[in-house]
């Protein structure tokens, strides 16, 4: 256990590519956490997807041991947190576990929108912010200009900002010294009943569920019988330790410390982020503030391309779920797609990550249906049924419209930070998505705008669109603000007269026609020509609101075919058949799998 005064807990916040991961690597290297030989690029992002996309999905901590100029050896806990709105709750818990943050700003790029979003969150958690102006080795670096920007735009003192180059190892000692000098030591009471916050948890095949904790008061040690105050379960702690980034076991974790515990837990579901861990005997009576039950907000169907893969999909989803309790799944069957699962996610990125992991790590070909939010519907009584309230997240389950009294949809309050040159297009985007502007302020060349938006307008591709129209500079954050009634209808898509259930969606009547037209145009490009012409229609109830026609193929024939050519011809046929196996048939029309996914990206107009 370390004295409170010798502990520093901090996170690193930065706009993407400003050098967060590189700096973290340097700090680990400098303090001797890993030898040069053990260092692989970007130690902390350890999932393939994290490395490729340059995003962090799971919170990670590293404990560094640093002997400062004052001769004291400090325990520094560096926390890397996910940086995406889908994981806003996880981020808030990670930040709550720290007392300060390093604000990394690229010396050539300056303050950018994401920097702002992240720094404000950090300030909300009362963090001491230590500015680090990185990449000073670049010829285009303008550290003084950036220093002024930090002061003007963010409003924090940057006179003592550390000038660094994570890449060339300049200023690393100064960064560590600033952490020790500027970031306050945690507070806590060793004698008080145990209170530890569950920061994150994941499944490890050898250890079972590993729980990342921040001890607030008391001491956590091996052999202790603890209870999870929100989850209501009890467990026997069998391992306590930290990462350096190598996993090291410790006798105990005291107040202010961050580390991990294991307790023979089999499912991450039992270890909910934000829960309070206390002792069974003489434990705390009051849980830590800020706990939230996370609910999936976006749903979609996942179906195996090859129906024979259903069992494999079931198993794989089960395994992923062991490590990620924030998504839900239940079996679903679709006329067109066969058996699959209806899954719920924290957001679109979360959806994509799960989908990508299933494809990549479990080698499954999947069809993903249109994402949907959860609607609340009041049904009138009918001759045979009572009036009732239902929750709907699958357009396929849309009830008989004549029974619908009201439909409500979830709304969010979105806060967007953007350089003001992109403001016009962003306002238009929000307007097109039925947004209601509630606030607009300017802060030195930047704008902060708040909108109330229906979540179903956001789940499609709002984030992608926002990034693309602002060239990545706008950042976006949201919170849910409850359900509101809306004039919502189910729009169906028919291909060659047959409804394609996987493409149906619930939309607001005011945008239905435009969405329908867009969808038909998209499908026209995505479905290859067939031997006959194919009408594509969008309809509400029986009423067609948009249509396109794919004209029939005119020519597909091998001109020359004699004895020797058979092999070639046969290969062609085999290839054709293989291609077909990757498609779905709707009334004699083969729709390529990509068409489902691509059609639903309402994107690039």
């Amino acid at each position: 256990m370390t004295e409170l005064s010798q502990i520093r807990n901090f996170s690193i916040i930065a706009h993407i590519d400003h050098g967060k991961s590189t700096l973290a690597d340097r700090l680990i290297q400098f303090t001797g956490g890993l030898t040069d030989r053990e260092m692989s690029e970007q130690v902390l992002d350890n999932m393939d997807i994290e490395r490729e996309r340059g995003i962090t999905i799971k919170a990670q901590t590293v404990r560094l041991s640093y002997t400062a100029k004052d001769g004291v050896t400090y325990e520094l806990n560096l926390m890397d947190t996910p940086g995406h709105v889908d994981f806003a709750y996880e981020v808030s818990r990670s930040l709550a576990a720290c007392e300060g943050a390093l604000l990394v700003v690229d010396a050539a790029q300056g303050v950018e929108a994401q920097t702002l979003a992240n720094v404000y969150q950090s300030i909300e958690h009362d963090h001491e912010i230590v500015p680090v102006i990185n990449k000073i080795d670049l010829p285009a670096a303008e550290p003084e200009k950036v220093r002024a920007e930090i002061e003007d735009i963010i409003g924090i003192d940057a006179s003592e900002a550390v000038l660094a180059s994570a890449k060339s190892g300049i200023g690393i000692a100064e960064v560590l010294e600033a952490v020790v000098q500027k970031i306050p030591a945690p507070k806590g009471d060793r004698e008080a009943p145990l209170k530890a916050m569950l920061v994150d948890s994941w499944y490890d095949p050898y250890l079972g569920v590993v729980i990342l904790v921040r001890v607030i008061d008391g001491v956590i040690k091996k052999g202790l019988q603890v209870k999870f105050m929100q989850g209501g379960t009890q467990h026997l702690i069998d391992r306590v330790g930290c990462f350096t980034p190598k996993r090291i076991e410790l006798p105990e974790l005291g107040p202010g410390e961050i580390g991990f515990i294991t307790a023979q837990i089999k499912e991450v579901e039992q270890a909910k982020v934000g829960d309070t861990i206390t002792t069974v005997k003489g434990g705390a009576t009051e849980a830590l503030p800020g706990y939230k039950e996370v609910q999936p907000v976006v749903f979609c169907g996942l179906f195996p391309v090859d129906a024979a893969d259903f069992e494999k999909l079931r198993e794989s989803i089960g395994k992923l779920r062991l490590n990620d309790a924030s998504f839900s799944f239940e079996m679903e069957s679709s006329a067109a797609l066969g058996f699959g699962f209806r899954c719920g996610f924290l957001g679109l990125l979360h959806l994509e990550i799960i989908q990508e992991r299933l494809t990549r790590e479990y080698d499954l070909d999947l069809i993903t249906t249109a994402p949907s939010v959860v609607y609340r519907i009041q049904l009138r009584a009918s001759k045979t049924e009572d009036a009732q309230e239902i929750f709907l997240h699958n357009p396929a389950d849309y009830p008989d419209p004549s029974r619908i009294e009201t439909i409500e949809e979830p709304w969010i309050k979105a806060t967007i930070y953007t350089p003001d040159e992109y403001l016009g297009s962003i306002l238009k985007l929000c307007q097109d998505r039925r947004g209601i502007q509630t606030d607009l302020t300017y802060v030195g060349g930047r704008a902060q705008v708040s909108y109330e938006l229906p979540l179903n307008e956001v789940v499609f591709d709002f984030y992608d669109r926002l990034k693309s129209i602002s060239r990545g500079y706008a950042s976006f954050d949201y919170e849910q603000i409850g359900m509101r009634e809306g004039d919502l209808v189910k729009m169906g898509i028919m291909v060659n007269g047959d409804p394609v259930d996987a493409l149906s969606m619930i939309v607001h009547r005011s945008v239905a026609e435009e969405r329908g037209r867009h969808m038909c145009e998209r499908l026209k490009d995505l479905i290859p020509r067939h031997l006959f012409k194919i009408p594509i229609q969008a309809a509400i109830g029986g009423k067609v609101i948009a249509r396109e026609t794919i004209s029939a193929m005119r020519k597909d024939v091998t001109a020359k075919c004699y004895g020797g050519d058979i092999t070639r011809k046969k290969k062609l046929l085999e290839k054709q058949k293989k291609g077909k196996a990757k498609m779905r048939e709707y009334g004699n029309v083969s729709i390529p799998q990509e068409a489902f996914i691509a059609a639903l990206r309402m994107g690039e107009e």
């Binding site: 031997l531 597909d556 001109a559 293989k578």
Partner: protein
């Protein structure tokens, strides 16, 4: 067993930019070695034959008209000695319409060739240049008339659907072609085959192939004009007066057995597929070392044979006899052709059922490849 013999002569004076056949350009060819080797390849197949006489022989290439008439003659003598000839045997040779080659026609006829297939390719000098041909139209036409004097049956090839070709241009050329009075015509749409010079040129944007819609129109026009002239299409690209069809090629399309010798030649022998070494030098050394040019001999499963029979047979105007195929391969008719799709595409007018036969219609023919993909069940193809 096989009553059809194919002999491949792999050499050309120059490689045509559209051609993806097994052809090679060599400065010198040792005729004696080639004679011995082809004889050797022939004998190997004859030993495995079951005593039936040959009904057709086809010299293809490459450019077999570059062969010395004496070589053709000894090969025919050897084939007759080994197999015997059925009465009225059809012996076809592919010829280049150059004056040099035309001067050999008499000798080739004397050697036994009784049908010649001339590679005119076009009647237009610009088109011939585009196609990289060494002859011009007047040389081609005089070769045609020499051929018509020397052989009882003459056919020639034209390539159409060239970039920018209009229906009017093609109609004029085709009507002129019909006026020469041959009883058979092969009319091919230009297709850009992978690995050819044209494929490179298209990739580099040197020219754009005629689009599918325009090509489809020309295809229909071709069938209307030839039918009206009494030479209807009996196969996708082949047109003939009744009973003037190429008997040799009908063997392929009706999925009969055939012997194929020479570099790169394919054969079907009692449920086995044979493929000979493609490269002339490799084929020669295979003959030297193993006494035949076979690179691969593979037993074809019944499913595979059935799929081959379908994709060849449906090219013919006569279509396929489903019951006969079913009996031949021991596969139920529904397993040979997807019945639901057959009905669906019959209703679309792309195929029709006629007694035991399934026939691709005029509207279906230009779509045959796609149609095969629909009609032939997947488990026949990927067995």
């Amino acid at each position: 067993m096989a009553r059809a013999l194919y002999i491949h002569w792999p050499f050309c004076l120059a490689k045509c930019p559209y051609c993806d056949f097994n052809s090679h350009v060599r400065d010198r060819i040792d005729v004696e070695i080639w004679r011995k080797s082809l004889h050797c390849d022939l004998r190997h197949e004859a030993e495995l034959a079951s005593g039936e006489r040959l009904e057709s022989i086809f010299f293809g290439g490459g450019t077999p008209s570059l062969m010395a008439p004496e070589l053709v003659s000894t090969l025919l003598e050897e084939a007759e000695r080994l197999w015997g000839f059925a009465p009225g045997i059809e012996i076809t040779l592919e010829a280049n319409p150059s004056s040099v080659e035309a001067s050999k026609f008499k000798d080739l006829a004397a050697a036994g060739v009784n049908r010649v297939s001339l590679g005119l390719q076009s009647l237009d000098d610009d088109a011939l240049r585009f196609l990289g041909r060494l002859h011009d139209s007047s040389e081609g036409l005089s070769a045609l008339s020499t051929a018509q004097n020397a052989f009882s049956r003459v056919t020639f090839d034209l390539i159409y659907a060239l970039p920018g070709q209009t229906p009017e241009q093609w109609q004029r050329m085709l009507e002129r072609a019909l006026s020469f009075g041959t009883s058979h015509l092969s009319l091919y749409q230009l297709t850009i085959e992978p690995g050819t010079r044209f494929a490179t040129m298209v990739r580099q944007g040197n020219f754009t192939p005629l689009d599918d819609d325009a090509a489809a129109d020309l295809f229909t026009l071709t069938r209307e004009i030839t039918a009206a002239a009494g030479l209807p299409a009996y196969e996708i690209s082949n047109h003939a007066r009744p009973r003037e069809e190429s008997r040799h090629n009908l063997t392929y399309w009706r999925y009969g057995d055939y012997v194929g010798i020479g570099p790169g030649a394919h054969g079907r022998r009692g449920g086995k597929a044979t493929v000979r070494h493609k490269k002339p030098e490799n084929w020669l050394s295979a003959i030297e070392s193993q006494g035949h040019g076979i690179a691969e001999e593979r037993v074809l499963g019944l499913n595979e044979q059935a799929s081959e029979a379908l994709l060849m047979g449906l090219r013919l105007a006569e279509g396929i006899d489903l019951q006969a195929l079913s009996a031949r391969f021991g596969i139920a008719p529904d397993a040979l052709v997807d019945q639901a799709r057959l009905n669906f595409y019959s209703a679309q007018g792309l195929v029709k059922k006629q007694g035991p036969r399934i026939i691709v219609t005029e509207a279906g023919m230009p779509l045959l490849d796609a149609l095969l993909g629909e009609l032939v069940p997947a488990d026949l193809v990927t067995a």
